[in-house]
């Protein structure tokens, strides 16, 4: 999984029927220190996350194991809202 910050939302009217009523969020991956890295991605929200929050995103086929995502065409899902990240000194 990766840590990411939610930076926006996506509105899509025409989409796969299995995506109907799922919230889509734009996320920017970040390192454990909060520094942004890599490309933006769109993830489906399963935990009521919102813009500005730090979240945990699961990618690939595992995203379909998130609650309510069985057989849905998704490859990234927000599965947790991060409270804190603690990193050992020096790392």
């Amino acid at each position: 999984m990766i840590l990411a910050r939610i930076v926006g939302t996506v509105v899509a009217t025409r989409k796969d029927p299995r995506l109907v009523s799922n919230k889509l969020l734009v996320a920017r991956p970040m390192d454990p220190h909060g520094k942004s890295e890599g490309n933006y991605l769109v993830a489906v929200d399963t935990v009521d996350a919102g813009v500005g929050e730090t979240v945990l995103i699961v990618s690939g086929s595992s995203a379909r194991m998130a609650a309510g995502m069985k057989d849905c065409p998704v490859d990234a899902a927000v599965v947790g809202i991060v409270d804190t990240v603690e990193v050992a000194a020096g790392d």
Binding site: M1, I2, L3, D31, P32, E37, G38, T46, V47, D48, L56, V58, S59, G60, S61, S62, A63, M65, A66, A67, M69, A77, V79, G80, I81, V82, D83, T84, V85, E86, V87, A88, D91
Partner: protein, 92 residues
């Protein structure tokens, strides 16, 4: 599978129900000589590892297999704690 160092932990209160009770750790993948390789990631812990340990982990859907039959939404999971490893190329 890949070698990594556990460098931190993540606290997540609001999360997918299937993740309840599972420890989430921050991993830094490492190379043969122990140097950092690539980006850090968050992995579920299936073996009781902790910060500072060298571990190996799986990527992909297989990360959830240790928790079977629960379908844990995880794409990286720690499956072993490394006692030591030897690489001939480095010692010769």
């Amino acid at each position: 599978m890949q070698l990594a160092k556990v460098i931190g932990d993540v606290v997540v209160t609001r999360k997918d129900d299937a993740l309840t009770g599972i420890k989430l750790l921050v991993l830094q993948p490492i190379g043969a000589d122990g140097s950092n390789v690539g980006r850090t990631l968050v992995a579920v812990d299936a073996v009781g590892s902790g910060v500072g340990e060298t571990v190996f982990f799986v990527r992909g859907k297989e990360a959830s297999f240790p928790f079977y039959p629960t379908e844990v939404p995880a794409d990286a999971g720690i499956v072993g704690i490394v006692d030591h490893y030897d690489i001939d190329e480095l010692t010769n």
